[in-house]
Amino acid sequence: MRAPFTVLAAVGAALLVLPQFAAPYYVTLMLPFMAYAVVLLGFNLLFGYTGLVSFGHALFIGVGAYTGAVLTTRFGVRQMEVVLLAAGAAAAVVAAPVGALCVRYVKIYFGMLTLAFGMVFYTFLLKFYRLTGGDEGMRMLRPSLLGQEWAGFSKTAYLIGPYYYFSLAVLVLATGIMWRIVGSPFGLCLKTIRDNPVKAESLGLSVPRHRWYAFMVSAVYAGVGGALLATPTGNVDPTLAYWTQSGNVVFMVLLGGFSSFFGPILGAFAFIFLQDAVMSVFPYWRLVFGAVLAALVIAAPGGLMGLIGSIARRSPFEAARS
């Protein structure tokens, strides 16, 4: 289902003015949402559009986050733009060999390989503490945005002000680029590979090569998202790369709906805010989330977008659109 322009415009406007109206707590909650939204846009290119489920995407989130930490603390690089570019590049560099190895396998073997690679990275982060700070992780210093230090701003003011809008801009840019990608000839080829690899090959489309490209693009997105994720907390640690983090990514995509373009973004939003809502009344959010995931898998595999779609289909709204 493609969200109509009016809905998008309304959402966009709401996002723009949110910091003026909402409590700072909720504004800062939007930051991990936006970071994960970027990650998920890339992840869904691999999952929804190419049909590959990676259980190791936390690897690239970790690469991105640690790139941010390393650049700001060890190399004195403080410009966020540079950090984001470096995070994406680092993720691509790691994804190239890993992806080349993994994309020749499908389904459960692909999942297992990606999970193994993710855990290799996690173990590396954990054990080589001289390089990575071990289980305590590393700090990430506040970066400058658009050349400005924003030194006069307190941490909170920085986060709910300039950093919020910066993240939003990155998210919008990332969304626009991904929209272009899925509507490109490349995007079409991914869908053919997802639906029927044998037929796609008979039409002259190399299945491993295109999966590899999709893998790398999704890794870049995850890396950028990882760097965005690390800045508000100012700290990165190995749990960012643990396999359950990869599981959460898959959960978010399923929650939002993987067969639609905006589903993953919705999924990230729902996950972050649902987690917050549950945690404030009930410490056992995993129990609730596990139940939600089970319900989704059993009853609503199309996720929230799927549910919205089936409601919309019964309304004159949808009839008017077609």
């Binding site: 489920v53 190895l101 396998y105 499908v106 389904k107 459960i108 073997y109 999942g111 297992m112 390989l113 999970l115 193994a116 690679f117 855990m119 290799v120 173990t123 590396f124 054990k127 080589f128 396999w243 359950t244 599981g247 898959v250 959960f251 399923l254 056992y284 959010w285 995993r286 129990l287 989330f289 596990g290 139940a291 995931l293 089970a294 898998v297 059993i298 595999p301």
Partner: protein, 286 residues
């Protein structure tokens, strides 16, 4: 020898995993969670036993019974959740087991809290023995022996009993088995319950040597995963060999270069997946 003990425990969990995968083609991510469940229940059972005046020398009895009993929860899980996704894509099945991981993790935390619990030094009451030049707690030897016995029992069950034949038939060719009149629902329920019980038993048996901790389930799954990849998905012999390889290698790695530990295991997993995806004993890879 610690490696062999660890291998013995890993075998139990992996055997459960292999059984479920072989028959139902589902990779049960929650096997680690069942392992944790068995551990905590085992501690509770022993605590109850001792508290009621039970003899410390017999602590292994409530431990094992507790571990096995809680494995019956597998039946509830299978009937209540898993059976709805048998006809779905394996990704969704995997995600359902991930949902189980999440739920069980918090259920355990709710019931027993986040602090580690253990049976203390009870197991030392069985004394120690000298084996191959090292000193090993007799308890460990008991567990290794038990695990071996179970391995043999599983082998016997699968090859020499009617149930075992049905299970293997269902694993080989689901449609054919159904066509021959096998009630797959019952087979699945029993297989999954058996698989769960193996996992919970493993968790219970490991407790005396370590302690029940909230992360133990999540950490174990990656090791169990390594075992079944190396041994070959769906194969019992694979579980045995894989468990030995992982258990022993891990001990060696810890002894020689602690940082390596699991890293070495994961690298081997990747190597196996790349060069021989079917592992030692698995069926041909996709």
């Amino acid at each position: 020898m610690g490696g062999v003990f660890h291998a013995a425990i890993l075998f139990l969990v992996a055997a459960g995993l292999q059984l479920v995968f072989g028959v139902q083609k589902i990779f049960n991510l929650a096997c680690g969670s069942f392992y944790a469940l068995g551990a905590y229940t085992g501690v509770a059972a022993v605590g109850y036993f001792i508290g009621r005046g039970g003899s410390p020398a017999l602590f292994i009895v409530p431990l094992v019974l507790g571990g096995l009993a809680v494995g019956l929860v597998g039946f509830v899980v299978e009937r209540g959740l898993l059976r709805f996704v048998y006809d779905r894509d394996e990704t969704f099945q995997l995600l359902l087991t991930f949902a189980l991981v999440l739920m069980l993790e918090d259920l355990i935390r709710m019931t027993w809290g986040a602090a580690p619990t253990s049976t203390g030094g009870l197991y030392l009451g069985y004394g120690q023995a000298h084996v191959l030049g090292t000193v090993v707690p007799v308890y460990n030897l008991i567990v290794i022996a038990a695990s071996l016995t179970i391995a043999l029992a599983m082998g016997w069950l699968l090859t020499r009993t009617a149930f075992g034949r049905i299970v293997r038939a269902a694993a080989d060719n689901r449609e054919m088995a159904e066509a021959l009149g096998v009630d797959l629902r019952r087979v699945y329920a029993r297989v999954f319950t058996l698989g769960t019980m193996l996992g919970t038993l493993g968790g219970a048996l490991v407790i005396p040597a370590t302690a029940a901790m909230s992360e133990m389930g999540i950490e174990l799954i990656v090791e169990a995963f390594a075992v079944v990849v190396i041994g070959g998905l769906g194969s019992m012999r694979g579980a045995f060999v894989g468990a030995l390889v992982v258990g022993v290698l891990r001990s060696l790695a810890i002894a020689v270069y602690p940082e390596l530990e699991m890293l070495l295991i994961y690298l081997i997993v990747i190597a196996v997946l790349l060069w021989r995806p079917r592992g030692f004993f698995g069926a041909a890879a996709a």
